[in-house]
Amino acid sequence: MLKRQYSIATGLVLLIVLVLLNLPEQPAARIKLALGGLFLPLFGMAGSVQHLAQQVGNSVVPRSTLLTQLDQLRKENEELRQKLMQAQDAFRENGQLRQALGWQRRVPWALQPARVIGQDPANWWRTMLIDVGSRDRIRPNMPVLTAEGLVGRIDKVGPDRSSVVMIGDPNCRFSAQVQDARDKSVVAKGIISPTASTLDRLLVDLIFVPGGSLLKPGQSVMTGGDSMIFPKGIIIGHIVDVRTNDYGLNLEARVKLAVNLNRLELVWVLLQ
């Protein structure tokens, strides 16, 4: 009797697994999103509790501290306004020059803010969940960034949440370029790839850099614009160290990411 129960239970579970693993990508993604949707109330509740705790924490901050912070923010706001005015002038001038040369006009970025609600529970992927989806005009492969730099790209999109593949995940490889710190000229190009040598989640490898390129620690690494996903000029990080590979044919560099992926709370999705 027990053996029969064993066989039935095992057979049923194996059948379910086989069916699920052999499903085409889209239906599997839909089932995944539907199952993940069960957790949304819990994520929402946890977010509300966190927000409430923050509010309680804010309510006990002394008035003098708040006034100091307000003063600092006012100053910062004033500085940013001045910078924006200069940038608008430069943007206008840039547009006129591009028009004169017959180049395509640059479109200003449209950004959608999103809150990080969860991370991949498995240790062998670097993905996270954000609280915006197709209802907010999010589509797969849109770049995700913060004010500090690039975070990753959108992977799967549900109606009101999406998963983001972060830099350092095996499914997030893309071309990048190294800029010289002084004159901002492009020193070399390579591929950003997950590193196989450290536990530090903030380090990635820049591989397939042509040998003889003048790579130095401290140089900035930016998106190259060669890929169809990331626009040119978003900062990725800085070079930590360089090593030669394939008998000097190629160089490899370790890159410290500009964004602290461990402490992400709010990100921006670049709508294209």
């Binding site: 693993l21 529970p121 240790n123 992927w125 536990l199």
Partner: protein, 189 residues
């Protein structure tokens, strides 16, 4: 009680998967996230029926994969294997012993990620692996081992809270009671 126990185990699995995704503190601190599903599977296989084991493997695995970049269903198989092995040998295991619980949790929490990664590699996926994965494996195994006795304690408490306590049997039998009283004395009768 059986259905209540099954529901409690499944509810705990749901919460465990949520907590693994929501809380990043441990991952930021030690570089690895602990998986609580193998610990729950140890409890389920030693305390519940085969249907509960199958349900926990299926639902727990699917919930885990739904929040992860894993292919849907890949986590079900390792959990099922662990559950079936432990369930088939449950008569030989001293489930009340904390040491036994710890060791079973250690073995289950070490085997589950190993089987999952092997299954992923078998399917042609490319998980993020390196020397540091050994450290993550160690943390997962030790964390799961520490969580297993806690699981047993928690569910035992839940059981005690929701079921009638069994009355302890006494050796008192009214039909064999020796009655002592001041009956008529044989010398005076």
């Amino acid at each position: 009680m059986n259905w209540l126990n099954t529901m409690a185990i499944l509810l705990m699995a749901f919460l465990a998967v949520f907590l693994e995704s929501y809380f990043r503190g441990l991952r930021n601190l030690v570089g690895a996230q602990i998986d609580l599903l193998p610990a729950l599977m140890v409890y389920a296989s030693l305390s519940a029926g085969i249907s509960t084991v199958a349900l926990l493997a299926t639902l727990g695995g699917l919930w885990f994969d739904s929040l992860s970049a894993n292919p849907l269903g890949i986590t079900v198989l390792p959990l099922l294997v662990i559950g079936l092995v432990l369930h088939s040998g449950r008569e030989l295991i001293l489930r009340e012993q904390r040491y036994a619980q710890f060791m079973l949790g250690l073995a289950a929490s070490a085997m589950a990620p190993l089987f999952t990664v092997l299954a992923l590699l078998g399917l042609g996926a490319e998980p993020l692996l390196g020397w540091w994965s050994l450290w993550q494996w160690l943390i997962m195994a030790l964390g799961g081992a520490a969580a297993t006795p806690l699981c047993f304690r928690l569910f035992d408490r839940v059981k005690r809270a929701f079921t009638y306590q069994k009355l302890a049997e006494t050796s008192f039998r009214p039909d064999r009671e020796i009655k002592r009283d001041r009956g008529p004395h044989p010398d005076y009768s």
